[in-house]
Symmetry: C2
């Protein structure tokens, strides 16, 4: 039960396959490969964790949401946040129940988000967010108007306090389990995230070609 996807520091020490990494390139790669992170705040009503879109520019993570959302308002008011991005890369089948695990990459960012108020940086943050979700879309869609801008809060979160964990490879077994009679197999069942075929909006004129920025992702 020492899955590295349990809140445990132990497996990091015990198993070489799970490593806390400090390399910025690793951190950036994990963040850039994700679409959604989980934003956690300690609200007066209790902790709340919500799936949240994001985008990265250098050492800054941009988040956004409705100015009407309680979580966004709390984060914008200077409440500390934690933002976590996780990729599951496979299920690790071990000869023991205890050493079953997941291959994964995760990034945990802690800090206090800053409400972006400068109009230029707000505009930039929205471009970063849009192009992270849908590369090229900022230049191929109607830009936000005044009303939409007023309704949208943009937050910036510094990557100073961030850590990355990566687990790869086969199960880490106890020597005694290698020939255990109950264990008929061990190994990794990989998990992949793949794009499907683009589904055009029904209101699009028939025959509208799928742009390369969309089709090239799939």
């Amino acid at each position: 039960m020492s899955t590295p996807l349990s809140p445990t520091a132990r497996s990091t020490v015990r198993r070489n396959a799970v490593r806390a990494r400090t390399d910025r390139a690793d951190l950036h790669a994990v963040l850039d490969a994700g679409l959604v992170g989980h934003l956690g705040l300690a609200l007066p009503t209790g902790p709340l964790v919500l799936p949240t879109g994001y985008g990265r520019d250098g050492e800054t993570l941009y988040l956004h949401g409705s100015t009407g959302a309680a979580t966004l308002r709390a984060a914008a008011a200077g409440l500390p946040v934690c933002f976590t991005v996780t990729h599951v890369d496979g299920v690790v089948y071990s000869r023991s129940a205890f050493h079953h695990s997941m291959n994964h990459r995760s990034a945990v960012v802690q800090g206090t988000a800053r409400l972006v108020t400068d109009p230029d940086e707000r505009w930039h943050g929205l471009a970063v967010l849009t192009d992270h979700l849908a590369p090229g879309s900022w230049d191929h869609s109607r830009r936000p108007d005044r009303k939409e801008l007023i309704a949208t809060a943009v937050l910036a979160l510094d990557l100073t306090e961030a850590s990355v964990k990566v687990r790869t490879g086969p199960p880490g077994e106890d020597e005694r389990d290698l020939a255990h009679p109950a264990a008929d197999w061990a190994g990794v069942l990989p998990l992949h995230t793949v794009w499907g075929r683009p589904e055009p909006c029904p209101q699009l004129p028939p025959g509208t070609p799928v742009p390369q920025r969309v089709s090239s992702r799939a």
Copy 2:
């Protein structure tokens, strides 16, 4: 920027495509389809959100981790938690930057976790957790020994306070944007999670067959 994957209640109200659902079957389906959730706690040092394995039995979610982990100890001591599971099903390309979105399913569970101390329920919780991650593995691996059991905390979280959000379908557009000159396309680029080919442990005897419980997932 009204992506439902921003902390926003607004899009739920405004766009019919995003719905908060109360149906237990929907909740169970979202939880059962995931491998990892994000456990959030308000620690004295600030909020912390960690990827965490889980398993469900009826209206109970089982979590586990090392008894040495600060987060697990805090949750076991009765600190409120939030546990969130999210599936991203596609990127929604809109004719406006503002209405770009993600198709997704997410479940948010709030409550106070209970440290499971009854030996029978602990054993049951570990079986549920193992078989959620790797169906059939509990019966095909060495069961936890005394030392492993001592090192493992099992928590139970009730699903009473849980909500589900699901967004499906094409972009929700403003009428005025349908023929916007900057917008050359709109639609959904679906995202799928698929299993890869099983990778046998290098220490397995050559020719060991992949059991059906593993191969049938892929």
